[in-house]
């Protein structure tokens, strides 16, 4: 059981800044996220798109914002638990116990939900048969490359993941790349490599067409694609790799006894606490009158929520509001060495 002051669910920009706001108040936190890295939507959905409304930062990309925040919270040495989704939240004598899908357990007086729109999960193929073959012959990501050697592989999608894996796996397998339109959206270099491999026969490209059905009894045997002109084609294949991006699913959050409004958690605007004391919701996942889903709103929300977290985690201490410019305690927490005048 990992003991801490605040369990932060979600490592997006708001979850990361929560580490900072808690850290300068002397509170420890542990961060849990279902993705394999920090950044949340900023990294998954728009790593290279510029953001123009972060105060005092005229322009930055999702990736840059994430990296800056990681640098800003480095002194607090928070632990990150990636690739883990929080499944259960239970009360235990005024504290909270949190369990993840990997069986890890945490306990703390506070939980800060900075979960955005929920956890990211791959967008799956919409066929019933697809569930049957998932993990055996239908995959939404590649973990172990060796499983994909000496096979007939059909890759669906037109973005970077589809193109990158087509290139990589074509070294040892026969690849058919299938996309709904003729244009692919990927790095120019990757596209020209793909074209070269198409000429040499290592990759077959089928466009513009979409998957219409899959066949196979014990294992996948073939699939059928339908072209825009109505023509159909059967392709023999062992493996389908499908790259249609990630979806955001609210998931287990809905089962934690929190008051919800559609897919968001209702909070008060004094400290962004939910209907359960010690559980806070901040960023896109929370709602209150006038709520705006902006990163900057999330930053404000964690600043206020962290004060209440302090009161709950240190019931015998008095909370003192301090500025980072002058407070020696904060400077120590930030690891800033005293400068000689």
């Amino acid at each position: 059981m990992i003991k801490t002051d605040v369990i932060i669910i979600g490592a997006g920009p708001v979850g990361l800044f929560a580490v900072h706001q808690l850290g300068i108040k002397g509170l420890k936190s542990e961060v849990i996220d279902n993705l394999d890295k920090a950044g949340g939507q900023c990294i998954e959905l728009y790593p290279d798109k510029p953001i123009y409304d972060i105060p005092a930062v005229p322009e930055c990309t999702g990736k840059e914002l994430t990296n800056s925040l990681l640098r800003q919270i480095k002194p607090f040495k928070s632990n990150f638990h990636f690739n883990e989704r929080v499944d259960e939240v239970v009360e235990d004598k005024g504290n909270w116990i949190v369990k993840t899908n990997k069986g890890k357990e945490f306990t703390a007086p506070n939980i800060m939900i900075a979960g955005g729109v929920g956890s990211f999960e791959p967008r799956k193929l919409g066929f019933k048969e697809a569930d049957k073959f998932e993990g055996k012959s239908i995959f939404y990501h590649v973990k172990d490359k060796e499983k994909f050697e000496n096979k007939n592989i059909c890759i669906f999608g037109g973005g970077d993941s589809a193109l990158d894996w087509a290139l990589e796996l074509s070294k040892k397998s026969k690849i058919t790349l299938i996309h709904r339109r003729n244009e692919f959206r990927g790095a120019l270099h990757t596209l020209s490599e793909i074209k070269k491999l198409e000429k040499s026969g290592k990759i077959t490209i089928k466009t513009p067409c979409q998957l219409s059905s899959i066949q196979g009894s014990k294992s996948l045997e073939s699939l059928e694609v339908k072209y825009d002109n109505g023509k159909k084609e059967i392709i023999k294949t062992n493996i389908i790799l499908s790259f249609f991006g990630l979806l955001m699913k609210l998931g287990p959050i809905a089962e934690w006894g929190l008051n919800m409004d559609k897919k968001t958690v209702t909070v008060n605007t004094d400290n962004f606490e939910t209907n359960r004391s010690g559980i806070f919701a901040v960023g896109d996942i929370c709602t209150y009158p006038g709520k705006l889903k902006l990163i900057l709103s999330g930053f404000h929300e964690v600043a206020l929520a962290s004060v209440e977290c302090f009161k709950r985690a240190r019931p015998n201490e008095k909370y003192r509001f301090e500025f980072t410019t002058g407070s020696k305690t904060i400077h120590e927490r930030l690891g800033i060495e005293k400068k000689d005048d």
């Binding site: 959905l45 919409g126 709904r180 339109r181 955001m248």
Partner: protein, 106 residues
């Protein structure tokens, strides 16, 4: 206010007056039209507000920019008349627009 008709995959229609300047997605969310999820809130990042625009309207609405077309790749069962409703801004020109929502968004 322009009237927008939302028809679901079973053919049930609802016609709503949507304030000019709002998007077709916002019109749906504010009026509890089912079939449009809009998980990302309109930042063209999720494709869960995917709709089919009735053919005769395709030429009358501004064309999709590249980023929208890229995002439609991710949508559930995209077709030639697929659009993201978060990118369709309601104006007088859209009076009477009919859109069909897909059988599901994910």
């Amino acid at each position: 206010m322009p009237k927008i008709t939302y028809t679901d995959h079973q053919g049930n229609s609802k016609t709503i007056e949507v304030e000019k300047g709002l998007t077709v997605m916002e019109g749906a969310i504010q009026n509890d039209i089912s079939g449009i999820d809009a998980d990302c809130g309109g930042s063209m990042a999720c494709a869960t507000c995917h709709v089919y625009v009735e053919e005769k309207w395709l030429d009358k609405i501004p064309k999709a920019e590249e980023a929208e077309v890229d995002m439609i790749d991710m949508a559930y069962e995209p077709k030639k008349n697929s659009r993201l409703s978060c990118q369709l801004i309601v104006s007088d020109e859209l009076e009477g627009l009919v859109i069909n929502t897909p059988s599901k968004q994910t």
